[in-house]
Symmetry: none
Amino acid sequence: MIKHYENIKVILVEPLGPINVGSIARICENFGIKEIRIVSPKCDLLDLKVKKMALKGMSLIKDAKCYLTLVEAIADCNRVVATCGRIDHGEIPLYSTETTLNWLIDGNPKNTIGIVFGREDRGLTNQELLLAQKVLTINTSPSYPSLNLSHAVAIVLYELSKCIGNSSKVNNHSNNNPAKPKELNDLIDASQEFLLQIGFLYKHTALSKMQKIKSMLQRGEARSEEIALLRGIISQAKWFINKKND
Amino acid sequence: MIKHYENIKVILVEPLGPINVGSIARICENFGIKEIRIVSPKCDLLDLKVKKMALKGMSLIKDAKCYLTLVEAIADCNRVVATCGRIDHGEIPLYSTETTLNWLIDGNPKNTIGIVFGREDRGLTNQELLLAQKVLTINTSPSYPSLNLSHAVAIVLYELSKCIGNSSKVNNHSNNNPAKPKELNDLIDASQEFLLQIGFLYKHTALSKMQKIKSMLQRGEARSEEIALLRGIISQAKWFINKKND
């Protein structure tokens, strides 16, 4: 996913933890990100823990470009957003994740765009935040707002992929193929006859109870094969009862 | 955040990794979740790695309730959604994260609601998915859809907090009030017993046929009174047959 946007760069500033770096690589691979950039990594990028967490994302780490400063890392980017979890961001305005990412992609799809994440312990400095065009924050509980770095990346990439819009994997449940009305009616008729026979229904209550059942099957958009299954149950129950009568 | 919804339970089924469990506790704390439930944990919940990743979320682990089965873990839940990253989910319909979570909170805010996450390596079984009323999937790249467990939790809680924040804006599209998963399960158990008795089911086909029926009732969001009606039918049919036997 995140297709048609080949030029999204996930940029990490001085990440400390190999577990985080590996996890970030995996989530980037999960969302089809093609490039990770790292400013002055503070851990060994080839640490075994990185590999263990990255799994199929490890190639993103092997191909990651490293930079000395954030300025250099974003030099070729047309649009850049930074992320901020701190509350002491001074006068720098913070926007919601969704608003910011919609802005980020609201341009030429050939743009090179960068999303910048800060250090695990203290995020990005205000000076670094000001290098971006917009700063986003992820709304969390005020009593414990500090997100794990890889969780922040996961949430941002999820929201970004939603903004870009792609729903190939989700079944469009309204494409369900409900049975024909006649099949449903026939089932209801057969069931009513059976339920009268076993004394579950009385003639004067039959209609309203059968309507309840019908409305449930209709709501569930019962399919042909499901209606057939239910008819099979009714037939078998009738047969079983009549056999006993012999 | 996620305030006004005190009764959200994050339910983990057989988690394997202490790093994941700790990370999940932290993200739960970040989003103000008050309770984690764990079905048959496959790692030591007091492992140092759990503590290291959980940070302020560690109290959620200390207070976590453990269960032997998922059925028990969701017994008191009014609404339950499960998560699925597998593609071999058979006929179980998958919905987008946003759609499912909007449905989850679209009821009485005092409802006890459960969100179920499966094992790191193979998720939830189809049988477990059918214990929930709806199943969500997180849209990812088709070439590497497998998310880290704690990332899945992070994304779901982020989306949930957005849904709750927006819920005033969301149209109350379904006034439907589906039965608790336990009511549906009990109906399925009773029906299976009856259908075996009348020879409609054989032991080796029972599971797959009952899953079809269950999936249809789940899709239709069958209500308590409808489930009760169906149970009434089963009881009456049993009674009728036994009477004949006398």
